[in-house]
Symmetry: D2
Subunit: 392 residues, 4 copies
């Protein structure tokens, strides 16, 4: 598929994700970290306008007022609207945002019809990748918005795809290796996936499958949320102040557990992988189980091995690792907006690996580094366990 | 007009206020004290359902889920959705709320077509009065919502009605009087307007007109917001923490002052009465001017005199008084939801008298007691000055 | 007693109140509204220095650094240290504060030995009255500090003086009267006790005694803190956010109720008047009892009647009234620091009348207006009930 | 020195650090993360009582009330007093804490005079190491307390020891190495210094000296605090909300810069290493300089090389590294209080290496891992720069 074909398809796909929503759903913000769907439609468009079209002196901006409202946090691109206050924006109206999208789409097609430099093409690719990230964010945010109504509401979602495996859990051993970590330069990758560098992996074992709802329920029923010894100090404070005692979308009604997914409330399926847990919860569960979370390097190494018994690595749930999100050795912090894409977040966050059922096809790879604060759990997160093996 | 005719007309009027809005505007909440217009449409409907229709065992509720979502704060009527989180409610959709309104309107008409008791009629009247209050709240909230967009937006508002008077400001003297304060029982009044009771009014003088933008600008330019001696202690703290230095909808651009009204940004008209000031600002302005605010009793007494030179008492702006909002002597706090209408707010608020350009016709009278916290200023508030006269 | 004798005695009395404390107790701050005892010693001294000694060009300040640290909130007297951060001041040391007191005492004696104007004498009187207010504040703050230790600690307090009356509770009727409210100018009074003005008192009945611990316990055991219908809206929010379910110094141990007083924990005496309740609690108790709180005018009128059956009006507990703290008609807000003494607090507070066991002798009178925010309860507060009588 | 001699000397040293303080200084808390010196005296004593003496059934606790008040955060050892409220504890009095210290010291000597197991000896060593950590915390906290007075106050500190070097700054190259990271088991080490493990170090260069005040001032004067491009996203938010624009103890007076140290305010010495900067500031300075911070592994490797030109590695200032504080591979999280010593903090913090002028002798080693949140700067922190070298 050509770059432009990818562009056209990506832009269409974003709109189609929001299509099942009612107009009201486009405007609201259910938590500080959630953005209204309308805002995502505008922001992904703004990205192309700012990074690509603005290079052309002839380009006519759809509206200079949009520069501020659809800038997420790029200080190098001027002021931006406060994230926590996106939910008060009834304006621009949805139809204006759609017109904005059309305006930019046409301009991009015209821009590239005249031929484009390699750098311009690479920015177009980045814009598409950026928009794909927002496609998953849209699912995350829509889920949170529809759940936080007076009654959890359904999104028109195709019938359930079944991500549980009936495979018996076991740990797969990996021998020590000196491996190359990071992207090899073939195809698109974000700058945080490199530089590729050598890393020594100690012997370890990795669970073939993700932790299930049934296993997690056992942790809960064993008092997991009441015993401080399983929790980091910050995690325990978070638990108490936020009054957390279960994964994000679990609800107990009449003694029975239900889980909200985009189809609505469902009886909890004990075989499905547990999801919407924070790093704090994942780490506590691991400690309760006498195991640990894998490092991001172990995960990447194991994934590249393509061990046939290793299940649910991609397109099921993002998997918390024990690795803080920091730069790889030799990482250069780019100047300008591209430096604000990944580098400025390299503190206070943890790496997740893999991808989720809601990740766009083609957006998952062994080297991909997703990241969130340790208390966040509205992403499609899950738990995979690891443990040490003796080195000899 | 019969009670039922009033009902029908009131219900239509509410919808017509929201008609110029785009669907997006119905859903958002720009400040904690502002409610989304959609919520007002539902809440005023819920009021009739709860206080009137629910008395009929045969009545079929439109949706029991709505009980919680459209209850504002009536603890005696079950749980209620948190006020600060009304802006996250994309559901119920506007069309569902409209259906809810139709459902309740039909039920009310049917209910009263069979004849109704005096008590039921009086509750219907209360419901209409309640909805009229929300009509003004709708204007207040719409103004705040449309202002707090990425750019202040216009509401389709009829051409300006001109509330400035070109009358020269002067103070009108009132001799001492032993007067009856409170409502005389003719026609509708809220329970907080009684019991009627005798009160001794000392001699005083009252300004014929409201304070103008020009006068207020002079206060600002004289350093009014920088000198603590004009301000109550709590007011000064509020000023500093909220970074307040001008009325709510004033904006300075290129050295010129503009004021947002529902038509959009307008050059500041120095002859118009200043509006959207808090009690704290009104009191500071009065002290700066060497005057004071009137008591609510002085205001009521003066209004009942119908002095021909006394201008702008009704249907211009609500006027802050120096009177804390407390019960009149002999006031009975009703039990149940009616007791929650006014009585439970009788602490920490100040009384405003008069009415505003946005107050529904027929909803203004000499004895009407509006009330807000001293820091609130999204209501249509203004300033009228008073001063003491020697008693002899 | 001459003014100077009063001065000397007042200054000694303040130090003697703090004498039983350990040096550590002088420095800590247990709540934002509580000040370290050391700070009171300095602040009352600063008051004389600023308002009196600084008029003398020859006066040598003990330390200009103290101007900021011992200014409470007088904006007209320069910057002041943040109230919430008084507890971090280990410096000046206690011995330096004592030296500061000695320095100022000597200077005052010298100042007045040369003869003084009437105005200077009246400021000296005000300074003494001010210091007497801080004597009671010292008891309030010491009580709060010693209670909020790892275990409630005792202050060396003389044997209990017995403020319970064994008198049977009853309501005393008062006929309607047109009365003069406010101070008559004989002897010292604060500016908020005037101007004296005529006020019409409707017929009412007033309880002869204060509400007892036993009565209040009955309110608690009847679910008083669990039923919103007794509470103002703001009160209910306060209750829930602060998790309040009993008076301030009550503790339940092993099913038994104890009350902390300055002697330490004591078994709750059901005959004693309930104390350390907020206005919110007093008003809720009154509503639960089918009564109301008196207005400050009713209280003053009844007190001036000197009805022999009316008990516990003075030197027992401050009594919450239903009257918001506002200026009397004709009140002039003084400019400079004297205007900051009382006037700038005339919003958001309620009036208490009477005095407490910890009020200095001579500091109680019928017209005295104490005031606190409706949620405060570390003062020595109590409840007296009233009710309406038919006017005929 | 025998274990017991170390114990006796450590206990004496702690008291001698606090000796220059006035009694008032022992009780106050200037920030949430600062503890009153009195509390440190009690807490370090409690540690020996809980972890050692309580094993002996015959031991008589000095006061069971102290268990709660001197527990810092050990959930496995019962309840603990809230850290933010340590400053309200006037009780226990200092003399009671000293008696507590004497009581425990005697009991320990008696305990060990009878002979002790290896495990008991190792806990005694841990207790001494723990107390040495609190000796440095005492300096940190005393500095913060004395600075945050109405005027920065002096602590009786010996004449300045001169930590500036007049060495010209340069970068020292280190070739790539596969090295062993972590403690080798000879002598005392904390559990977070192991397990020792192999790590590949890429070629890099490390600055011979710490960044100076002069260099940091240049960063400030070049607008370092005003340009977002040097800062992590979280750092920028911190900067703005805390209004940070200089290192913690810098003050500008009359156009001149001063720095508070324990002797009082000093003119800023441009040759001295900059101190009391947060990780956020250290990282921003590094990015401004076109360099980076070293990893903790680079630092440890370089330190073990004992390169003669490498200055100021120990006993000058703790040096921020770019390494998040996480467990080394194979780390076992101990159960009980020992697991709460280090392991439960292994998230959201950054590693510092080296030691400071205020670190007790013998408490510095190549493998020592200190850690703080990225916004903290009341520790004796400094900046050492690093940069990449090409791998070939």
């Amino acid at each position: 598929m050509s770059v432009i074909e990818t562009f056209v398809q990506t832009r269409r796909q974003t709109v189609s994700i929001t299509a099942p929503l009612s107009l009201e759903d486009y405007c609201v913000q259910s938590r500080e970290e959630v953005s209204p769907p309308k805002w995502h439609l505008g922001h992904t468009t703004w990205f192309f306008e700012q990074l690509l079209l603005s290079r052309n002196a002839d380009y006519k901006f759809f509206s200079t007022d949009f520069h501020r409202v659809f800038n997420s946090y790029y200080k190098s691109l001027g002021q931006h609207w406060l994230q926590a206050e996106r939910g008060q924006l009834s304006r621009p109206l949805l139809r204006e945002v759609i017109m904005f999208r059309d305006h930019v789409d046409s301009a991009i097609l015209k821009f590239f019809s005249r031929g484009a430099s390699e750098e311009e093409k690479s920015i177009l690719v980045l814009g598409c990748q950026h928009e794909q990230q927002h496609q998953e964010l849209l699912y995350m945010d829509i889920k949170n918005i529809l759940f936080n109504q007076y009654t959890p509401s359904a999104y028109l979602y195709p019938s359930h795809s079944g991500i549980s495996t009936r495979v018996k859990p076991r740990f797969i051993a990996f021998a020590p290796h000196l491996v190359d970590i990071g992207h090899d330069g073939q195809g698109f990758a974000y700058d945080n996936e490199g530089p590729r560098h050598r890393f020594y992996i100690r012997p370890f074992r990795l669970r073939n499958t993700l932790v299930t709802n049934g296993e997690y329920l056992h942790f809960m029923e064993s008092g997991g949320y009441d015993h401080s010894e399983f929790w980091f100090s910050d995690a325990w404070d978070w638990l108490r102040s936020e009054k957390i005692s279960q994964p994000m979308y679990w609800i107990q009604r009449g003694g029975q557990w239900f889980e909200y997914d985009l189809r609505g409330l469902q009886p909890l399926d004990l075989e499905e992988p547990v999801r919407h847990v924070s790093f704090y919860e994942a780490a506590a569960f691991a400690r309760f189980s006498g195991k640990r979370l894998p490092t991001e390097f172990e995960w990447e190494f194991a994934d590249k091995q393509r061990h046939p018994d290793l299940k649910q690595m991609h397109y099921v749930l993002w998997q918390w690792t024990s690795s803080p999100y920091v730069a790889y050795p030799g990482h250069k912090w780019k100047s300008g907006p591209l430096g604000e894409y990944n580098s400025k977040f390299m503190v206070n966050q943890l790496v997740l690996r893999g991808s989720s059922l809601w990740t766009p096809q083609g957006h998952s790879r062994s080297t991909y580094r997703n990241f969130f604060s340790p208390d966040k759990r509205w992403a499609f997160t899950g738990i995979r366990l690891a443990e040490d093996l003796d080195e000899n």
